[in-house]
């Protein structure tokens, strides 16, 4: 979703950043400073960056990158960053302008470089981190950038990269094992998220969007009937719909179609620290478990 107030946003940006480059030049940061565009990328950077690096995210946990409003503090952090990490593939529509006006000296690293993007309509689908194999690509890109920027710590970075990759590979096997308990034909899910095409392709799950569901404040009988029919016709086993605020209605729709109501899926942001998905690997494991649990048993 684009902000309805482009003029206000640019105003904030200009006022925040006009005076900043001079300041940043004066105060040479002692520690490596890395700014990532969103929380998942920041978590990967924390796993890979050399000891003592300061990693921050512009769009924090539980926040939506699509409606991000940069604050003056974001402009300052960008201006002082050594590296700026972005997902690319059009995920951060706002980042180019923000980086340009912040006058940052940091290099812009596109984490998804080299990923063969899936299409989502006319544009690329940016949610490539929802496939652990593609996350390896992210890790390689970030590690290479860190090693280039801090050559003295190359060995440490390589060690951390190897460790992280082994954990990613282990999780990848776990996810496949977990989903393997459900026959392929039964792995059919309706979700209001549009972020799981990579996951579906990698792990063999069919994700469908709820058909023609608009978020009226009051549901209509026709819309409910459409959704029930879609669940029945598609052989859908689990429903992950979070934009219907009446929980009872989701239950009713799922039960009537013969599907289960699944838990929460995390797509674009980590949960708050202490939550069920406060790191990238925990997020992935949580999603896989939620999917396998909902698909496993008949309602």
């Amino acid at each position: 979703m684009r902000s309805p107030f482009p003029s206000r946003r640019s105003l904030i940006l200009c006022s925040a950043c006009s005076a900043l480059p001079a300041q940043a030049a004066a105060a040479q940061p002692a520690r490596p400073r890395i700014v990532a565009s969103f929380s998942i990328l920041a978590d990967m950077a924390r796993e890979l960056a050399p000891e003592g690096a300061e990693v921050s995210a512009l769009v924090g946990p539980d926040a939506d990158a699509h409606v991000f409003e940069p604050s003056p503090a974001d402009g300052r952090r960008l201006a002082q960053a050594d590296l700026v990490l972005v997902n690319g593939l059009g995920f951060e529509g706002w980042i180019d302008r923000l980086v340009r006006v912040s006058g940052t000296r940091g290099e812009l690293i596109v984490a998804s470089d080299g990923v063969q993007p899936r299409r989502a309509g006319p544009a690329a689908d940016p949610h490539a981190w929802q496939d652990l194999a593609l996350a390896r690509r992210y890790v390689a890109n970030l590690s290479a950038a860190f090693a280039r920027r801090w050559p003295a710590q190359q060995e440490e970075i390589a060690r951390r990269q190897a460790d992280y990759l082994s954990r990613i590979d282990r999780l990848d096997r776990q996810v496949r094992d977990r989903l393997a308990t459900v026959p392929r034909a039964q792995r059919r899910v309706i979700t209001s998220h549009d972020a799981f095409a990579y996951f579906g392709a990698a792990y063999g799950v069919d994700f469908m969007a709820p058909q023609a569901w608009t978020t009226h404040s009051e549901p209509t009988a026709a819309a409910v009937a459409r959704l029930v029919r879609q669940i029945r016709a598609g052989g859908v086993r689990a429903v992950f719909i979070e934009n219907i605020s009446d929980r009872r209605l989701v239950e009713r729709i799922a039960r009537e179609g013969g599907a289960r109501v699944g838990g929460t899926l995390y797509s674009d942001a980590l949960s708050k620290p202490g939550g069920p998905a406060d790191t990238y690997l925990k997020l992935f494991e949580h999603n896989a478990r939620a999917l396998a649990d909902a698909l496993a048993s008949p309602p």
Binding site: H216, S217, E218, P219, T220, A221, A222, A223, V224, A225, V228, S245, D246, R247, R248, L249, E251, R252, I253, E256
Partner: protein, 288 residues
């Protein structure tokens, strides 16, 4: 023909919605008729607003729990009714003014309580529930309240009718005037609370008052009027659901607007005092 039946055959949520509106109509139509005849039509509306602070208090104490919110709403609305009744009896102020005063206080209190808790949206969805999401608990509650209402009306029919039309006479023959009035208010609040989770507070009053007001243009006696009102409510429930199904419009307003259409038609063409008949046969009314 099949166009009318198919949605209900294919979808259980449509059948549940239909049964819920049928039960609601059966229970609340007679109550609505008594209110219309007693010139207390707006009391239903006042009570619906008075439910809010109780439901909000139940929500603040117990979270999104249907029993807690129903009980809270029931108690709050009864308190408003009691307070209004007390002021009416002990001061010269008329009933309408005291009801208005107390329901406005309750409404403001409710809005205050709702805003104290962060997630207003959940509560609002609870208060303006959907007839499409009627679960077993809600269905049982609606059917139970409707049955109890009909039973109580049957048991206390004579004193209730007497109290409605000639409270002085009832008191003079030693009848239980105040307690019968109280029973009516209890039944009214009970029906509204059971309806608010299916149709939402505001829609619930629509299904209660509109069929009753429409029936008045066709039938004279209370039993006939109540039966007709229940019939109108049931038919409009089915029609509204089908309308919502065919046209992709929200179901709650569809049901109440169907009742509204019947009301307007009754005002125009009703056999008893309908506008058209008054135009056609002014002589009878001059003579009467």
């Amino acid at each position: 023909m099949n166009d009318w039946v198919d949605p209900f055959v294919e979808f259980a949520f449509m059948r549940r919605a239909l049964v819920a509106t049928l039960a609601l109509s059966l229970g609340s139509a007679p109550i609505g008729c008594i209110l219309v005849l007693r010139r207390m039509s707006l009391v239903g509306d006042a009570m619906a607003h008075a439910v809010l602070p109780g439901a909000a208090a139940g929500f603040v104490l117990a979270g999104l729990s249907l029993p807690a919110m129903s009980l809270g709403g029931f108690v709050a609305a009864l308190l408003v009714a009691l307070a209004a009744g007390f002021v009416t009896r002990s001061t010269p102020q008329r009933e309408d003014a005291s009801f208005a005063a107390f329901y406005l206080i309750a409404l403001a209190l409710g809005v205050l309580l709702v805003s104290l808790r962060g997630s207003q949206i959940d509560l609002m969805h609870m208060l303006f529930g959907s007839v499409l999401a009627v679960d077993d608990a809600a269905l049982l509650q609606i059917a139970g309240v409707a049955s109890l209402t009909l039973f109580m009306l049957a048991a206390f029919y004579r004193p209730m009718v007497l109290e409605s039309f000639d409270p002085g006479f009832l008191r003079s023959v030693g009848g239980p005037g105040a307690s019968v009035h109280m029973l009516l208010l209890v039944l009214l609040v009970g029906n509204l609370v059971s309806a608010f989770q299916a149709l939402g507070t505001l829609m619930a009053v629509g299904l209660m008052m509109l069929p009753a007001a429409a029936a008045r243009f066709w039938v004279a006696g209370l039993p006939g009027m109540a039966a007709l009102a229940a019939g109108i409510g049931s038919a409009c429930g089915a029609a509204g659901l089908l309308l919502s199904y065919r046209t992709d419009l929200p179901s709650g307003p569809c049901i109440v607007l169907s009742c509204g259409a019947v009301y307007i038609l009754s005002v125009l063409f009703g056999r008893r005092d309908g506008m058209l008949w008054r135009l056609l046969r002014p002589a009878r009314h001059l003579a009467g």
